[in-house]
């Protein structure tokens, strides 16, 4: 693509001085004036500066760091910082700094391939796609679309993720899921069931304003390092970050305090804090609770008394004085927030954990404000977007669900959209696409957490007519799934599996070359080889400008989807001309959570003008001359909800201290106006400072705000969206206007809500302490399935009982727990030493299952060793030093890992990172791989040994706690690593010894 093709129409937003060079900015690309040094030609050696700088966003974590890629002759030759992106201010971590190595990696999938008679054979795109489509159609006709499994990706752009849901929807199945299942599904369900939607209530920059931040089950310095720049500012201003978790992590060392508790006892820990706050300190915020929260009294009477400090101390292992001191710190704060990630979510009662965290914040009255609420940190770069756009077995895009209303809504969107030529009705979807199987159409599909059970169909009951015969795996590393050995078995039983990815990933390691499963490898383009939007953990949406064309013979994800849809016979629903057309369809249809106002033009305008957004609140500087009214008052990235194309975005959720037109709102009135006991589920009236009209009352969600579609402009205001924001009309007025416009609304149902006032379409509801629709109406402490405290299981804290048809599978955590009740005894080793609690987590250099980062030379070099962290005293008992091989045995696997001797873990815990594969119970899996498909560094997959228990609501996997014994490995057990990996490991071990 030559420079002359770049769109020059956006000169309104030109800026000079980018990156401190003479530069002309055009769209997302900056053309560089070549300095003298460069005129000597790029042959002189590095640093290569390229002809152009392209603005983009890192592909790794959900902070959403902006950067420039330096491009020359359609090649990425380097990187430059993007200093005025308000989120990261130019900063990156090792992963963001190595993007060029990922894009240009030798180990990328380059050509479409099929495994034929144990050999990888190259095929053309126009042979392989029809073959795959043909086989999918055969299965659809012979058995049904439910016999297929689709897994999408947290790394897809919003546009690709949206199509990732649309494709299987029209193919005819809900068996579609992605990494959010195993990452924050418990957050999404838990928090949505507490105050409206399950997302980070603020954003990275708001962390600058922290007064007291409880970080429970998150290690941001490792997982979200660049965000820490904002956390540091808070500390400089006197704010405190307090880490509560089993390990003394990197974050604990940099934080202001550290409290320890046993992995898997979060609910008890939090309830102990609430107990002290309420019963001893009387520091709960009665006014806030009275006015905006439901269920506190019953909670206090029926649930809390059991969690007195002595009991909690026994369960958690935390001394009573520590519980008291932490509770006091939180109570004394002007405002506090509770922050978590996988440490909190990945448990059999993970939904309970997340709810408990929010309940703590509600009790203190610290919710719904800046530096308050719950700064929840998502994982992958676009797991937020992929979740929002419904790559989820339980819902269509936008959390609409799977009932008839949801399908009808999306049928309308897919018909009305200007982006495609196709039209479809609900009847067509039901009768033709779902073959008339309404039950399956409206039923949660199979989750990615246990997809293998639907293939194996042996140990657990399956609640769909047939097992899964084939799977499409689109950007997900299998090593992040627990029961990894079953994953391997399932792959062997499939008729075929398609891996659409940048790298061959774990499927290439697990596949038996002599087996019967057909394997297709389709090369996908990276996020830098296609344009598209991405949503970070702060709900902010940015645009990745395409830097270079797809490498080798890879294709953009959305283009592959388009072509596959064509082969499957419904290409008319995917025939978009440009990627922005998909964004506009998202704007049109995703009205529940306000993905409407973030049009491609607005998103790109924000990217172009990062310098106009202040770093304190990400707000466009109102005094700046250049703003000229277009972005006045916008928040960077228009964090959703943005209800229409003039709405600035919502940086802090539920913040009632701002007018709705400026991003203000209340708790979502999600459960109607009355609870099951007739209690009022709307907030009490109040008189905010920003309102001259007297009282603002509690109101329900505005009728049909999420289903009425605008006529022309996909991001335009509809009646309910417009009326909500206006201060001269009421909910009742809205209902009347809708009825007059021909919509099926009965205004009399809204008669009592006749106070003209400005609101968000979510109404003004209450947060719930009690989630009456969940199995555990209040969170409860439940022992891990594999527990060091069987006595607690017998004395009141077992896992949930068996349930049928849980995402089409039988789930029985109680049975798994009983089967493992003697594990703590059985794992006592020959020397009589008791087992450890084994937990797992992240390393800064790697993301996810490591399929991408372990193929990146810079990252693999810096982190070349899979390890198990063990306390020095315990290591000494076993004669283990850092680097020595050890057998780590859980009830479910006998793994071989290298020791990392450190005081980060307490004496009774172990920690292992999950980013590793290539070794399975000591067996090296990569010997048969073609050289270019072999990762630089390999290691044991800890998820072969983690517990086979799953969250009662979402089927989140319990990867944070099991039991393990550790013994030195015998020499014949030690897997052989490559010379290069061994030499890198030596450097790695020596760097720690040097100091």
């Amino acid at each position: 693509m030559s420079r002359s093709m770049i769109d020059l129409d956006r000169r309104d937003f030109l800026k000079t001085g980018a990156a401190g060079t003479l530069a002309a900015a055009v769209g997302g690309r900056t053309l560089l004036e070549r300095g003298e040094a460069q005129e000597e030609g790029a042959d002189d050696g590095p640093p290569y500066t390229g002809d152009e700088l392209v603005k983009t966003v890192c592909t790794h974590c959900s902070v959403g760091c902006g950067l420039h890629l330096a491009v020359e002759d359609d090649n990425v030759v380097g990187q430059e910082t993007w200093d005025d992106n308000p989120i990261n201010n130019g900063g990156l971590c090792s992963k963001g700094a190595s993007l060029g190595h990922t894009i240009n990696a030798e180990g990328r999938l380059k050509e479409p391939m099929k495994l034929v008679d144990g050999e990888w054979v190259r095929m053309d795109w126009d042979e392989i796609l029809p073959e795959i489509a043909g086989r999918l159609e055969d299965i659809r006709e012979e058995t049904g679309p439910h016999a297929t499994y689709w897994c999408g990706s947290a790394k897809h752009s919003n546009e690709a993720a949206y199509l990732m849901r649309k494709l299987p929807s029209i193919f005819g199945t809900n068996n579609i899921d992605h990494q959010a299942r195993i990452c924050h599904s418990t957050t999404v369900t838990g928090i949505a069931n507490t105050w409206g939607v399950g997302a980070m209530t603020n954003n990275n920059n708001d962390m600058r304003h922290v007064d007291v931040n409880l970080i429970i089950g998150h290690n941001p310095i490792e997982s979200h390092p660049v965000a820490w720049q904002h956390f540091q500012v808070a500390q400089q201003r006197g704010g405190q970050h307090i880490v509560a978790e089993p390990r003394y992590t990197e974050t604990a060392a940099a934080a202001d305090d550290h409290y320890q508790f046993r992995s898997g006892t979060d609910v008890a820990f939090i309830y102990g804090l609430i107990y002290h706050i309420v019963e001893n300190l009387g520091a709960h915020d009665e006014e806030f609770i009275e006015g905006r929260v439901d269920g506190f009294d019953e909670f206090r009477e029926d649930v809390l008394p059991e969690y007195d400090l002595e009991n909690v101390s026994d369960i958690t292992g935390t001394p009573v004085e520590d519980l008291q001191s932490l509770a006091e710190t939180l109570a004394d704060a002007d405002v506090s927030c509770v922050e978590w990630a996988m440490g909190g979510t990945q448990h059999n009662n993970g939904t309970g954990n997340t709810r408990a965290y929010a309940m703590l914040n509600l009790v203190l009255g610290h919710a719904a404000q800046s530096a308050g609420g719950t700064p929840i940190y998502r994982g992958h770069d676009n797991v937020q977007g992929a979740t929002d756009l419904g790559v989820d077995a339980s819902t269509l895009p936008g959390y609409y669900g799977l009932d008839e209303g949801a399908w009808s809504h999306w049928a309308s969107v897919w018909s009305q959209t200007d982006g495609t030529s196709g039209e479809i009705t609900y009847e067509e979807l039901l009768e033709d696409r779902f073959q008339g199987r309404q039950e399956l159409m409206e039923k949660d599909g199979i989750t990615v957490a246990r997809w293998f059970e639907a293939v194996l169909d042996d140990e657990w009951e399956l609640y769909q007519p047939d097992p899964v015969r084939a799977a499409i795996w689109w950007g997900h590393g299998m090593a992040s799934l627990s029961e990894y050995k079953k994953v391997r078995q399932a792959i062997e039983e499939l008729e075929f599996i398609v891996n659409i990815d940048i790298h061959p990933n774990q499927i290439s390691e697990l596949i038996d070359l002599d087996g019967d499963t057909d394997v297709y490898m389709l090369p996908a383009a990276t996020n830098f080889e296609e344009g598209g939007s991405v949503t970070n953990t702060g709900r902010q949406i940015q645009w990745r400008h395409q830097a270079v064309t797809p490498r080798h013979n890879s294709k953009k994800d959305w283009v592959i989807m388009q072509e596959l849809a064509e082969e499957l016979g419904f290409g008319e629903h995917f025939d978009y001309d440009e990627v922005e057309d998909i964004t506009r369809e998202i704007n049109l249809g995703t009205r529940t959570i306000g993905y409407t106002g973030q049009t491609p033009e607005r998103i790109k305008a924000h990217m172009q003008n990062g310098d106009l957004f202040g770093v304190e609140h990400c707000e466009a500087d109102l005094d700046s001359e250049e703003v000229n009214g277009v972005m006045d008052g916008d928040y960077y990235g228009m964090p959703w909800p943005s209800w229409h194309d003039e709405h600035p975005g919502t940086p802090v959720l539920y913040d009632a201290s701002k007018p709705p037109a400026e991003g203000g709102m209340d708790f979502r009135a999600r459960w109607g106006t009355e609870g099951p006991e007739g209690q009022n589920m709307l907030r009490d009236p109040y008189e905010p400072d920003w309102y001259d009209g007297g009282e603002i009352e509690g109101v329900p969600q505005y009728p049909a705000f999420h289903t009425v579609l605008p006529e022309d402009n996909p991001a335009g205001k509809t009646i309910p969206v417009e009326y909500a924001e206006r201060d001269d009309v009421s909910v009742h007025d809205t209902a009347q206007a809708l009825a007059e416009a021909g919509h099926d609304i009965d205004p009399s149902e809204y008669a009592e809500y006749n106070n003209p006032q400005p609101d968000s379409p979510w109404g003004r509801g209450r947060a719930r302490m009690k989630a009456w629709n969940l199995t555990d109406e209040y969170p409860a402490h439940r022992e891990p399935a594999v527990t060091p405290r069987p006595d607690l299981v017998e004395n009141g804290y077992p896992c949930n009982d068996r349930v049928e048809d849980h995402w089409r599978l039988e789930l029985d955590n109680a049975k798994v727990q009983q089967d493992n009740i003697d594990a703590v005894e059985n794992l006592v080793d020959d020397e009589g030493r008791t087992p450890f609690v084994l937990t797992s987590g992240r390393q800064v250099e790697h993301t996810g299952a490591g399929g991408e980062t372990r193929m990146n030379e810079s990252l693999a070099y810096r982190s070349p060793m899979m390890y198990v962290q063990i306390h020095p005293e315990k290591a000494a008992e076993r004669g283990l030093e850092s680097g020595d091989w050890a057998t780590v045995e859980t009830p479910h696997a006998e793994m071989v890992m290298q020791a990392n001797v450190t005081e980060r873990v307490p004496q009774d815990h172990l920690f292992a990172p999950f980013h590793w594969s290539g070794v399975l119970e000591g067996e090296v899996l990569t010997d048969e791989l073609p050289e270019e498909w072999t990762p630089f560094v390999i290691g044991e997959t800890v998820n072969s040994g983690t517990a086979p228990a799953y969250d009662r609501e979402t089927q989140m996997q319990e990867t944070k706690v099991t039991l393990a014994s550790v013994t030195p490995a015998s020499s014949d057990e030690i897997p052989e690593l490559s010379d290069q990996q061994q030499s890198w490991q030596e450097a790695f071990l020596n760097r720690d010894r040097r100091s």
Partner: protein, 199 residues
């Protein structure tokens, strides 16, 4: 042999109040210069990890005013240039490691990786084949008014870049300090040490 420069060259110095061992500096350096992985021109040194004394500091060559490496080099491969920077010339270096022993900061690297001869002769190019390689403070980037890649990409202001005057201002700010004790500071900054280092 020290320079008479009043203000000395621009240097990158570590601010160990805020380093979080994210590795951006290491990766940015190797990427920018296409260095072999073993060439740790900048490297985060970890201290007492897992204990209350836990700390880390990104370390590299500081083009010391009183550079010990220049003093001990037996072949005169290490020299001061006019601007006060220290450079090693590939055709004189014999890879004896004396400079590595003398340097208080561990800056000299001796990557084994083979590097084309042309690169070795370039004073700013990567060294290999066992010869000494070290940070060049990204001189070609400085010529374009850009900061060294490491300081530029650090997300937490753990690498401060500037002339002695500029560093003096930076280090006077809150939550800024270097791991240099008095002796180290005078090796790096010479007579400027008192002016640059905060009290």
């Amino acid at each position: 042999m020290s320079t008479n420069q009043a203000s000395g060259p621009a240097r990158v110095v570590p601010n160990w109040e805020s380093c979080i061992d994210c590795g951006a500096c290491e990766v940015a350096c190797k990427r920018t210069w296409e260095l072999p992985q073993e060439s740790n021109r900048i490297s985060v040194v970890r201290m007492a990890h897992g204990t209350e004394a836990e700390k880390q500091k990104p370390m590299q060559c500081y083009n010391c005013t009183e550079a010990p490496c220049v003093d001990v080099c037996p072949t005169d491969a290490l020299r001061f240039r006019e601007d006060g920077t220290v450079r090693v010339s590939g055709n004189r270096c014999i890879g004896c490691h004396y400079c590595g022993v003398a340097c208080p900061f561990g800056a000299p690297q001796y990557p084994d990786a083979s590097v084309p001869e042309a690169d070795e002769m370039n004073p700013l190019g990567a060294r290999g084949n066992g010869l000494m390689d070290k940070c060049t403070t990204c001189e070609p980037r400085q010529e374009r008014d850009l900061e060294p890649a490491c300081a530029s990409e650090c997300p937490t202001d753990a690498l401060l870049f500037g002339t002695p005057d500029e560093l003096s201002e930076e280090l006077a700010k809150e939550n800024r300090s270097t791991p240099f004790n008095d002796e180290a500071a005078s090796v790096v900054f010479g007579d400027d040490a008192d002016r640059v280092m905060p009290e």
